[in-house]
């Protein structure tokens, strides 16, 4: 990729992130739609008309699933170790909060995990681990993992009203997910890890409360 495309891509990435943060939304539907357009539709169009790369380059591929799953498993264990440490020493599980309505109703829990968590996990994976990595991996190599982590953390802190504690799972997983996506060239495995972490974490908290 030429420097010119990379420069324009940087502008595009910053523009989409900033505008998505400050774009006015009035309800959850609009929030989803806004995120979907800025983080899915626009990157696809940008990729199609400016970068002129194949769609597969954005990480929508299975690739070498055996090695990818193995990498994912190792990373998952590492992430689990980190959560164990922060839970053990910092009482993380006692201060991490989950929606009340998923605690007592299993159906609501399933719907929440697969239609809320999974969807947003996919969107963020597509943008940060798919689009960002695709744009910069050839130019800056492994440094792209740090770049997407920084971008994600910045977006998370600026744009969300959620407490740091509740953002923590995403922040911890982000570099690992970036590493998985970088190595497997697929966002499916990084997304799977991200989702599993949130899912298991919610399960643990529900179990602890109940």
């Amino acid at each position: 990729m030429k420097i010119k495309e990379a420069t324009i891509a940087i502008f595009f990435i910053l523009a989409t992130i900033v505008i998505s943060i400050f774009f006015p939304v009035r309800n959850d539907f609009q929030r989803f739609l806004s995120t979907f357009i800025f983080f899915i539709i626009l990157p696809i169009i940008f990729n199609k008309f400016f970068l002129k790369k194949e769609f597969i380059k954005l990480g929508i591929t299975i690739g070498d699933y055996k090695s990818a799953l193995l990498i994912s498993l190792y990373n998952l264990l590492a992430i689990g170790l980190i959560f164990f440490i922060i839970s053990y020493y910092f009482n993380f599980l006692n201060i991490y909060t989950i929606p009340v309505f998923i605690v007592n109703d299993f159906l609501k829990f399933v719907l929440y995990e697969f239609f809320m968590v999974l969807v947003f996990v996919f969107i963020y994976e597509f943008y940060f681990r798919g689009f960002v990595l695709a744009v910069f991996r050839e130019k800056i190599g492994y440094w792209v993992i740090l770049l997407q982590t920084v971008l994600f953390i910045a977006a998370a802190f600026i744009g969300n009203k959620v407490s740091v504690v509740n953002l923590l799972p995403y922040l911890i997983v982000t570099p690992f997910a970036g590493f998985i996506a970088y190595r497997t060239r697929s966002i499916l495995y990084s997304g799977l890890v991200q989702f599993l972490v949130i899912f298991i974490l919610n399960l643990i908290v529900i179990k602890k409360i109940s």
């Binding site: 420097i3 009035r26 309800n27 626009l42 008309f49 400016f50 909060t97 929606p99 009340v100 009203k161």
Partner: protein, 1119 residues
């Protein structure tokens, strides 16, 4: 010598003998004894007693010249009787029993003005356009129903007796023809026959009296006018005021800054001298010429017409010339000087009037001590007498220096006249200023700035050296206004309003006979020994019998000489009235009448007084001690008649009877809703159709507080207040109804109704009035029962407890639970929690020997539980055992220091969680205030309205959800947690850190109508609370054997739902064009899509532009 004991006996015996003799002087004691007990007391006034009579007489005797409010004025009681009961068409007899009249035993000297108000004949109704009412009610033909029509209605019945003036013969012609029958006439005057040849007659024409019932003061019905006492000879009364000054013209010697140039005194002097010289010369010339003319001689003495010749030898200079007198030096006063302040006249005699001292408070003072003071209508001015000549009144007269001066007239011309007029020969020295103007060198130097009050005081009382002139103190009083209808006395007789034929005028004409429907052929139609006119005016008519019809009301006014002797210097008694109800608001309001005022030329219907010497002579104010004072007032006694109407149906005897009984004795009233439920049952007798009786219930509270009610007890109606109580003590629908034989009241009356909480009991009176159907001839009956009600003075206070690690429980006085109104009715507590109760002692009413029961089981406060516990003490600690929703009732009984058994209770409900999310209304409205069906129309956020529920007495209340609220888009809603623990707020599943540990949150409503918010609140225990929980577990286990598994939950959660609905008050833009309207009404989501699409296109467009215009080698060159 007597010893002390004997002395005492003799004194007591003397007093007793004297008292017996004194009592014999008053016949009313005897009269009071003659009042028949068998009569039903139809009046609202209390019965006459011997002690009252004696008291009145004594008061009068002790204070013959003054006013005593101990005197009892005349009274009358009316009773009804009927052989057939109060039925339509039955003959009812009303019997009057007058008292406190001088001639009560001789009713022939009293005038009984009966009046009968038929159903529908309401007072002050215009019947000009209502022929039916006019023929039924308007007897005097003035197209208006008045008290006079009622009197005529009764007087016609009284005077005619059984005589029927409308009787017709078989041919239908009237038997009585007033045009052809021989009129006997009425030689015997009616009213005058009673009083003729007596002093009373004379006095009656001038004096009558009324008594103000509250204070007992007696007023003479007359109008008074002011009487200004004249100033001494040479003086007039004037209004004078302080700080008066004048600006006078003065000569200017050139030394007064800002004034025209100096006055030329030399030129003025020369001018005056020149004028004087020439005037003198002219006078001499005129004298010379005159003398010459006198000495003219005829040239021919025999011819009187011959020319005259002057003796030029004697008058060689004839004629001498008369020179013109030059104009004097223009004495232009070219300066002005303002005097110092002094007391001066500011108003003439027409500014002075007489006014009663002491504003409206003229009660309870000896009337002759009343003072009326001359007053000025000019602000800050005082009246006084000033000399009617000269320009000032000084004291001492002509003294130098003066110690008091009041200026009047032209001050500038006082003392030496200033040479203001040209030609004045007095030429003052240069710099002349009138002495009173200058502060120096003046005989008034000592009185500059003297106030009028001081000046007047010195003039009246002297200055220490010179005696004063007391007569200049302007005095005034009030005297009877004999002109202008000043005598307010009038009879209350029925008046036919025939020209020249008033009732009681001593002349009874044929027109009157016809009007009253009387037999013109006889003097007395009733043949009762009295003339028709005497019967018409009710002379001695103490009984009135008429045919009853439902709705009839009867009243009576009795006129006669009262037992009260007149203070006037004659042998008369006071002519007064008594009314059937012994009440008259117009008399009660006499004290509210304005006081007479000399400034008012009319003074009608006012209150005042006048002073009079013996023989009706004017009182000398310098010697008031020999005068008598009389309170005066002007009232229209006809206005008293309506309120004195009696309803014979209520007052009289009836067949129907009703008795009441209460199901509880000494029930307890508790404003917190824990009082007894009292049921009053009624039992009627003699009713033909008991099931058809209409019951009307009323509730009254005694005004005598804790004292048992007596016949004289005043009662306050609390029916409406109890109905409006929250919650109502009974429903308004329980008050009236067919066959409502019982009445139930929830004794939750607030202290505002029951009286001060310090009074341990109060009395309620339940009154039922039953009305029979036509089967019972529409008779009425009334039943009453009094119930003694104890007040719940003591309260159980609920506290959280502090459990120490030594297993000692203590009340946490800083944390009272359920202290609000709802909480006192129903207190929600956590399962397995320990709560502490205490009954604090009320001041002055210590309660001891408590017995506590929880759900009927005895429970005691052992010292092993708490060091605060004592045997049978006022504290209790107990655990809340049971399941969610179950009730726990705690009852404490004890004995108060006043000997009353007290019983206090609290009602607890075991709740799952006490954590609540409470709505904070921006206008401070409570949940109950917001709970209504139309709350959303006037409030931003409301609890969801669920419907209505009924309480135990049938009262309806709105019911609202405490977990579902409704609001509108664009509003801001505030919620708060009800406890003090740590909080986590979650909005729509997302925990918002900005709300963390916030007891109150504010939420802007951004969602559209139809959507909702889910708001969750979770609380967690702090470390201190956890330690407390451990101690509570220990206490539960040790004291009540409750295992630790059943401890209260550590964390509590609760949630509410906030629905967003369309704002019914939102307005739609209507003035914009089509485009604006389209944009306004585009769905929100479409607008969002449009915005995000445009934003996306913009991003791509900018990216494309950058891509197109950015040179390929821009970065390469840099590299």
């Amino acid at each position: 010598m007597f010893n002390t004991k004997q002395k005492t006996k003799k004194i007591i015996a003397s007093i007793a003998v004297f008292s017996v003799l004194l009592m014999q002087l008053f016949p009313l004691g005897v009269r009071a004894l003659t009042i028949p007990d068998s009569f039903i007391n139809a009046s609202k006034g209390s019965s006459v007693s011997i002690s009252n009579s004696t008291k009145a007489g004594n008061a009068s005797a002790n204070d013959p010249n003054g006013i005593s409010n101990k005197n009892q004025g005349p009274k009358v009681e009316v009773s009804f009787s009927s052989a057939d009961g109060m039925k339509r068409g039955s003959k009812i007899t009303a019997t009057a029993t007058p008292s406190f009249f001088a001639s009560s035993s001789d009713i022939g000297k009293l005038y009984f003005t009966w009046y009968l108000k038929r159903s529908g004949c309401d007072n002050k109704v215009n019947v000009a356009n209502n022929p039916t009412l006019k023929s039924k009610c308007d007897f005097d033909g003035d197209d208006r129903i008045t008290e006079n029509d009622w009197k005529i209605a009764a007087a016609k019945i009284i005077a005619s007796g059984s005589f029927d003036s409308n009787e017709t013969d078989t041919a239908g012609a009237k038997v009585i023809d007033y045009s052809v029958n021989v009129f006997v006439g009425d030689k015997k005057s009616a009213f005058q026959s009673v009083t003729s040849n007596t002093t009373n007659e004379t006095n009656w024409n001038n004096r009558c009296y009324v008594q103000e019932p509250k204070s007992g003061l007696i007023y003479e019905l007359t109008r008074v006018k002011q009487e200004m006492y004249p100033c001494p000879a040479g003086y007039d009364f004037r209004c004078v005021a302080d700080n008066q000054s004048a600006t006078c013209d003065v000569f200017n010697d050139g030394m007064i800054p800002g004034l025209p140039g100096p006055y030329d005194f030399t030129a003025a002097l020369n001018s005056q001298n020149d004028i004087a010289t020439k005037t003198a010369a002219n006078a001499a010339s005129l004298a010379y010429n005159s003398a010459a003319e006198t000495n003219l001689v005829l040239s021919n003495p025999s011819d009187p017409t011959s020319a005259k010749i002057i003796d030029m030898v004697t008058y060689p200079a004839y004629p001498k010339a008369i020179v013109a007198i030059p104009a004097p030096y223009a004495v232009a006063l070219n300066g002005q000087h303002t005097t110092n302040s002094f007391c001066g006249v500011v108003g003439g005699s027409n500014s002075v009037y007489c006014k009663i001292d002491g504003s409206d408070n003229i009660d309870n003072i000896k009337i002759r001590d009343y003072t009326a003071t001359s007053t000025c209508s000019i602000a800050n001015a005082v009246p006084t007498c000033v000399k009617n000549a000269g320009t000032y009144t000084d004291f001492p007269g002509g003294g130098n220096p003066a110690t008091a001066v009041i200026f009047q007239g032209s001050v500038c011309n006082s003392l030496q006249s200033a040479p203001s007029a040209p030609g004045s020969l007095i030429l003052p020295a240069p710099g002349y200023v009138p002495p009173f103007v200058s502060t120096e060198n003046s005989i008034f130097g000592a009185v500059h700035g003297q106030s009028c009050a001081d000046a007047k005081n010195i003039m009246i009382n002297g200055d220490g050296t010179n005696a004063g002139v007391a007569d200049i103190d302007l005095e005034c009083t009030f005297i009877k206004d004999t002109a202008n209808s000043g005598n307010a006395c009038k009879h209350l007789f029925a008046n036919p309003k025939l020209t020249g034929d008033d009732s009681g005028d001593g002349r009874f004409s044929l027109a009157e006979k016809k009007f009253w429907g009387l037999d013109p052929a006889v003097v007395s139609t009733r043949s009762n020994g009295q003339t028709d006119e005497e019967n018409v005016i009710g002379k001695g008519i103490d009984k009135f019998t008429w045919m009853f019809s439902p709705g009839d009301m009867v009243g009576l006014a009795v006129e006669g000489d009262s037992v009260l002797i007149s203070e006037h210097a004659d042998a008369s008694n006071k002519r007064m009235w008594a009314f059937s109800n012994n009440t008259c608001k117009a008399l009660e309001d006499i004290s509210k009448l304005p006081l007479v005022d000399g400034a008012d030329p009319d003074n009608s219907f006012k209150r005042g007084f006048y002073l009079e010497r013996g023989g009706g002579e004017k009182c000398d104010l310098k010697n008031k001690s020999i005068c008598t004072g009389f309170l005066t007032a002007e009232v229209d006694l006809d206005s008293c008649l309506e309120e004195n109407l009696l309803n014979p149906d209520l007052e009289g005897t009836s067949k129907l009877k009703v008795d009441l009984a209460a199901n509880l004795q000494n029930p307890i009233n508790d404003p917190n809703g824990r009082g007894d439920i009292l049921t009053i049952s009624s039992g009627s007798s003699n009713a033909s159709d008991p099931g058809g009786l209409l019951y009307k219930w009323t509730v009254q509270r005694s005004n005598d507080g804790i004292n048992a009610p007596t016949d004289t007890t005043g009662w306050t109606d609390i029916t409406t207040a109890a109905t409006n109580n929250d919650p109502p003590s009974f429903s308004s629908s329980d008050l009236v109804g067919i066959n409502k034989k019982s009445f139930t009241i929830n004794l939750n009356l607030p202290n505002s109704i029951t009286g001060p909480i310090s009074e341990s009991v109060f009395w309620l009176r339940f009154r039922v009035k039953i009305s029979g159907t036509s089967a019972d001839d529409s008779q009425n009956a009334e039943g009453v029962v009094n119930v003694r009600v104890r007040k719940q003075q003591n309260q159980i206070y609920v506290y959280d407890i502090i459990a120490s690690n030594v297993n000692d429980l203590k009340l946490d006085k800083s944390s009272e639970l359920c202290g609000d109104t709802q909480g006192k009715i129903r207190c929600f507590v956590n399962k397995n929690a320990i709560i502490g109760l205490e009954i604090p002692n009320v001041a002055g009413n210590v309660v001891s020997n408590f017995i506590w029961t929880v759900n009927g089981n005895p429970m005691e406060c052992r010292t092993s539980i708490s060091s605060e516990c004592v045997l049978a003490g006022n504290k209790l600690f107990f655990p809340i055992l049971g399941n969610e929703g179950e009730a726990v009732d705690v009852v404490a009984s004890g004995l108060s220091s006043s000997g009353e058994k007290i019983e206090v209770s609290r009602h607890f409900v075991i709740a799952g969680s006490q954590l609540q999310i409470l709505l904070n209304d921006p206008n401070g409205k409570s949940f109950s205030q917001l709970c209504s069906a139309d709350c959303g129309s006037s409030n931003d956020t409301c609890p969801r309205y669920l419907g209505k529920y009924k309480d135990i007495v049938g009262g309806e209340y709105p019911d609202c959800s405490s977990s579902v609220f409704e609001t509108k888009t664009g509003k801001t809603v505030s919620f708060s947690a009800n406890s003090q623990s740590g909080f986590n707020w979650t909005i729509d599943g997302v925990m918002d850190p900005q709300y963390s540990d916030q007891q109150t949150i504010t939420l802007p409503i951004e969602k559209l109508a139809g959507s909702s918010y889910s708001i969750e609140l979770s609380s967690y225990l702090s470390p201190a609370n956890k330690a407390q929980l451990t101690n509570v577990r220990l206490a539960l286990f040790k004291n009540w054997a409750i295992s630790q598994e059943e401890v209260p939950e550590e964390n509590q959660t609760t949630a509410i739902q906030l629905d967003v609905f369309a704002d019914p008050n939102a307005t739609i833009a209507s003035n914009g064009g089509f485009g604006a309207s389209l944009i306004t009404h585009l769905p929100e989501q479409l607008m969002f899509l449009l915005k995000i699409s445009l934003t996306s296109i913009f991003i791509l467009l900018v990216s494309g532009l950058l891509f197109a215009f950015m040179p390929e080698d821009i970065f390469r060159k840099e590299n």
